[in-house]
Symmetry: D2
């Protein structure tokens, strides 16, 4: 019986992410891309009409009016979903995730993991108790080149890390979109739905996660200067942060949603005692290695010189660009593999962001906001 999931695509159900939500479509495509899962059920919107229309547009077999109903019903069906996808606004993450986990249904959840730190801590406990697969879509860690970057740092190619520069800047909130009927902007700039952080929660946490994922270093303390440039906005739309890593490295993390003309400029640079490494999300098939005294090297997705852990994340030959959806799908690929393993009683292998990454993200948001509110002073991350 435990082998059963291996001979078919898994069945997935999504909460949130209905028509108009950019990220819902992303989760649908990413979860199905490798032919390992099929979206069959959904509670795609809190608006029943929209939920139904979205479900029809996606040819879902089962559409629910609420996540509670969905969790209940799917858990009861013999052909119920094998995992749930949570793509709601932040304030709904925890209750929704909780509802499915309590029905022993594994979850893939969007980030930041929860509305606040307290919920994050509860969720850690819940996941630990239930021993279920829980994956968080810090999707940028799904790029093969990011995997390679981590591999190289960890294998010592850069020496000891001294300096890190992380940025994630966009421009889509440079005007008051939340007052212009943009649903995305509305909830993301609303403290009641987004949490303590604006840009720092939405994209800053991606930067933090990427930094700690690749380097294996922890932020030790930080000094943050948050700003809401757009008049009337309650949450930050820009952040400049000094970082001190636990190992003594120094650095900067900046994020912004008012950086005019920037689309989705996420990049990271890491400088060690031996070499420097650079990765830019908008040219994701390149990884740039600069070793003093040697030519600059551009490492490319799916080339034989890349590490095994990088190349298993690629699907097509080098020179055939893979992008955002493929990287996102890699998180799903890894999570689904573990869901299969769990069903088969095999040990999990991980590789995707977990509840601990999510906790770390909420700690980050909390500390950044604390620093800024106290006058942009240094705050110890761990305290």
């Amino acid at each position: 019986m435990t082998q059963e999931p291996f001979s078919r695509r898994l069945r997935a159900g999504m909460v949130g992410g209905g028509a108009g939500a950019f990220i819902g479509k992303v989760h649908r495509i990413a979860s199905e891309l490798d032919g390992q899962a099929l979206l069959v059920a959904g509670a795609l919107s809190s608006d029943p009409d929209r939920a139904r229309a979205s479900a029809e547009a996606w040819f879902l077999e089962r559409s629910y009016g609420s996540y509670q109903e969905m969790a209940e019903a799917e858990a009861a069906r013999p052909d119920g979903i094998d995992f749930a996808i949570v793509a709601t606004p932040n304030h709904m993450h925890f209750p929704v995730v909780k509802a499915f986990l309590e029905k022993n249904i594994p979850v893939v959840c969007d980030k930041p993991m929860t509305f606040n730190l307290a919920e994050a801590q509860q969720l850690v406990k819940l996941v630990e108790e239930r021993k279920l697969v829980f994956a968080l879509t810090h999707n940028y860690t799904g790029y093969p080149t990011v995997r390679q970057a981590r591999h190289m740092v960890q294998s010592g190619a850069l020496g000891e890390i001294r300096k890190v520069l992380v940025e994630y800047i966009q421009d889509w909130l440079m005007t008051p979109q939340e007052q212009a009927g943009n649903k995305q902007a509305e909830w993301r700039t609303d403290p009641a739905r987004s949490g303590l952080g604006g840009s720092i929660g939405d994209i800053g946490t991606h930067g933090e996660n990427l930094l700690e994922y690749i380097t294996g270093l922890k932020i030790g303390s930080l000094c943050a200067d948050l700003t809401a440039f757009v008049p009337g906005r309650a949450l930050d739309d820009d952040a400049n942060i000094l970082l001190r890593m636990e190992n003594g490295a120094k650095g900067i993390l900046t994020c912004s949603q008012i950086a005019a003309g920037e689309e989705n400029r996420l990049s990271i640079r890491i400088y060690g005692t031996k070499a420097g490494l650079e990765w830019r999300q908008m040219e994701p098939n390149n990884l740039i290695l600069k070793t003093p005294g040697q030519p600059i090297q551009i490492l490319r997705t799916n080339q034989p010189y890349m590490s095994e852990e990088s190349n298993v994340m690629a699907r097509i030959p080098a020179g055939h660009p893979e992008g955002f959806l493929e990287a996102f799908a890699n998180i799903y690929k890894l999570a689904i593999a573990d869901i299969r393993r769990a069903k088969a009683g095999q040990p999990l292998q991980g590789g995707y962001p977990t509840v601990y990454d999510g906790l770390r993200g909420l700690q980050f948001i909390t500390k950044v906001v604390e620093s800024s509110q106290k006058g942009s002073v240094w705050v110890d991350f761990a305290s």
Copy 2:
């Protein structure tokens, strides 16, 4: 009844493309990516064991030992496939396509369309007679930026075209891979399976198609210098071709599979009396416009200034890179939409490469080889 296909994913079946074939996976992902189709059946290999194993790995519901069997059986089922995908080596394209078309099953076929020009001409007739959807995966025309390029040329932004430079260069055949057990290399360098052209058929036709697609111009005559650099190779692995377009423009098309260090470098440049345009497949979210006396412009996928016909080909916000698979999926998206229309008795809208593009490709291969064999002399394309 005619509305039926609108309320479910279409069912697809693939011939060829089993384990080890790069392009099979591409067709599977691309056909399913938008949630409009599901691969349910296949005759994935002429080797029965491989066919079965591949079908299991992909969780196919029905695996066949031959394409004939598959065409027969699927046509007879009430829940048979809605379209067939042909991903075999070139020499099998025509018989397989024919088998499905004759069962009134629409086809999406890989390129070059057929083994030779005669088959291509027969296929044109067959498609015209059957009035079925037939799409050819000249997938590079699926990029949103390529759609934009076509839009701009056709709307006159470049003025009258004077010069075109097309290249498609790779290095994967720079050594005798066909003697080293590389299945892909074996059939692609084998005149009995590939046809008259080596590199010129495999990738040169992509260049030709892209050129004619974007510019709307036709090649009038050409002078080609084909070479097989690798000793013992029967088909060209490199081509340099002078072009004269029917409108008086001049140009160059070069393709190569022995260009050391190049992955999949396809690019096109078009120079008119008003401006020049450049597109490079390996940075596919950029389209570069150079207008004398004005700053260089980089047009980006899914920005509001792009044409409607470009933006409908994009899925996610600008700055979230879309790549090869997404472009490939666009061909499927357009073809599937027409397959749905056909079932619903609605007029087709096209937008994907057709049997006429396929014919054009075979003419191109034939003329290029003729020119080169006669001593690299000028050959009239139309004659």
Copy 3:
């Protein structure tokens, strides 16, 4: 008599910059590049042998053993130098500059202007009293594209500035070069010769100057985290600084000389309410403008759409790359033009960095070091 300088190349004399000093050669080439001046005299080294050898290698007519001797002698000659070039280590700038100014000889001086803030304040007074041309080689402002950037910001193309990101990173001091016989490294890491700042003085001031030059904004306060990563080093080799501009803009300035693999990566990005602008020193003929809702624009050196103040800084047609030496020469071109004007009794026109820029630089170094020493706290720049 006042017209006399107009009919010949000006005569220049250099202090410091002899054999082995990278920057001496730069000053020689830059000062002569436009055929407006000729280096005829020098006190090129404090080591007499090296001074003589350097002077011979450069075919100087007159070589002096000390700058005092040179100032004395040149002032007394009817064909004495028209201006002096000061290319010594920082601690000698002020005495040397003073010696020439007091002989009424205009000066072009390297940066940072003086050893400390007090000297800078004295120099301001001296220049104001003497009413002589004094130019400071913040050479990066000499790039035509930087002039264009300033023009665009000032003409309102970016709207109100909100965010600025400045970086200047290198790797040449990532190992203890100062202990390995590298003369450059020795004095630059020596507080007795370099002043309070290491990297922050050597390159950080370039960043500060570029920022204030292009934007016309002033730094209001800052929070700096300086580090000396190389063991035993007395001065900073890395700095991360949060900036608050007087107008309310926020930003970051980072500089480093331990950023492994980086050559001379100076860049600036400026985001306003209308558009964003980016300039990178290592691709200096490009200026990137990103306006939301419009294609990215790359503005190129010496194109007709560039402003007059940018194009007068270019020498050769667009597409013929101009680089570091040409930009440096532009500072000389402007300064020499003013020296000619001064001789002719005409009003000066400026355009080059002045004693006030130099003062600003020393204030910057002082405040950055103060912030860092106090525990990386916020320091008011103006106080």
Copy 4:
């Protein structure tokens, strides 16, 4: 006596290149840039007023009404010029060069070397007889990265060369500038002053020279398609050429002056059995090496891993961009060094383009035009 030139800057005199001529300024700056020569005399224009005004603007000591007068007078002076610079339109190259060589004055001459092949052959004889330094300013070979490219090809890093792609495209003649008062355009499109070739002579020869310089290979035969796109133009403004190298390599050379939006896009790519190499004039401090199975390498000007013959051509540290003028100056640096050696009775060391490169260029023009005029047929280069 023979040592005399070593202790001073050489004296140079220019013919042509006066006000308005882009290339005259380039020669002036380039010849003086390294402090090895000073322009003191000139016959800068065939128009006496312009000649005088130009000479004054450049502070020349001696201005002549004609090149004959200049050759005569300078040869007779004890402090006469050490070498002549020829920057006239093509039809005047040979008579001017001849006049100076016959007075035993070395010459640096612009390209193409002569008006036609017959003159080129005579000049070869003359230089061989006189044993004087003669340098031709195929300036692009002066880039340090081009020197490195040659070094790498010759040291076998690329293996045996199979494919070469050369292009040099611009847009400045895409409209009939010659009818709009553009002096440059007038003579360059005039067969009586330019010779047989338009774009092929002006820039195509740079491509041919670069190709043969870097690869050490000779063009064996070619098939050229020349076009004059602008109505009324007597000479080609665009060329597409198939190349067969003597060693069996194949390739393409394209040049154009009607490629809308292109500034000065000269590039070369070379593919061998081991690796591929790419160089682009507009990013001249990069040299790109692509070795199958290894990361892409970007080699940078003046890095320690570059060959000695490359680094002696650089002046300032890596990351401080050097450009067109510096590369041009390198040709002068090498030629002047040989002029000094010749005066000192030392053996010449060369390194700059010679009369044989010039002859090769005229052969190239002649063969290209012959091919095109015969209907774009293959022409043997050597015959």
